[in-house]
Amino acid sequence: MGGSSPCASCKLLRRRCTKGCIFAPFFPADEPHKFAIVHKVFGASNVSKMLQEIPFHQRADAASSLVYEASARMRDPVYGCVGAISYLQNQVSQLQMQLAIAQAEILCMQMQQGGALPSSQRPNTDEKPSPFANNSHLASLTRLMNFASSGAVTQEPLQREYIRA
């Protein structure tokens, strides 16, 4: 890099930072901790190979995601990023359960309202159309019952099925 200071990676690796240094655009000298973390978890040569295999316009995102993953692994040496994924999946399940309950509540209320007053005597002239068509009434209830019985809200550990020979 001529007379300018070496990038964070070349400084850590104690080598000359050349003009074509693959790390320099993504690991500037003023943020040495980012490369330090990435080097500790992945290794400089692995990061270099990964970046070289990615189109140039996507390397910044790749470097950022590597820093994120390495940071997560340093914070949680057992689960790393996977701990966050598990937590978020659980949140999604809980929210979907709450949504199913709320939708079923609307369904019950509309069925009760439909049974209490015949539609010809309803004074509400600006009544909005029901968000649930007749066919989806049953679908909402079925969805709620299936969701409750599937055990989706329980925290299941990640399966080992992701890699098979």
Binding site: M50, V78, I85, R164
Partner: protein
């Protein structure tokens, strides 16, 4: 350990698999792709070091999560696992919005229902003569 019972790591690295091999319990020879993936992303020495930093009883989970991350980094070289986190966060936001809208509908329906219960037959008690309704008051003509 003989050549025929080497773990996937030692087989990949073409070295003798000793009895105290750190990687052997978590990278059995039955799943060679698992170690190949991990080695490509993290490197064998980094994985060894990461496992040694963790208590023995948690090393299985650590190895699984490392393998999971390596697998997703191979599938998505740009974002890896972080892509999954981003998608989950977006799904959470969308579901929260939908939940808020649905709960607002519930509240609206509950209010309407309560109003109708308070005045069950009000419309039956009030009647408007058809002529008076359509004619303007005399003072305005």
């Amino acid at each position: 350990m003989s050549n025929s019972t080497r773990c996937a790591a030692c087989r990949y690295l073409r070295r003798r698999c000793t009895e105290d091999c750190v990687l052997a319990p978590y990278f059995p020879s039955t799943h060679p792709d698992r170690f190949a993936c991990v080695h490509r992303i993290f490197g064998a020495s980094n994985v060894c070091r990461m496992l040694q930093l963790v208590p023995v009883e948690q090393r299985g989970q650590a190895a699984d999560s490392i393998a999971y991350e390596a697998y997703w980094r191979m599938r998505d070289p740009v974002y890896g696992c972080v892509g999954i986190i981003t998608r989950l966060q977006q799904e959470i936001q969308a579901t929260q919005r939908e939940l808020a809208e649905t709960r607002a509908l519930v509240a609206m329906n509950a209010t309407e229902d309560a109003r109708q219960r308070e005045m069950p037959a009000a419309w039956d008690l009030v009647s408007f003569p058809a002529d008076d309704f359509h004619q303007p008051p005399p003072s305005l003509t």
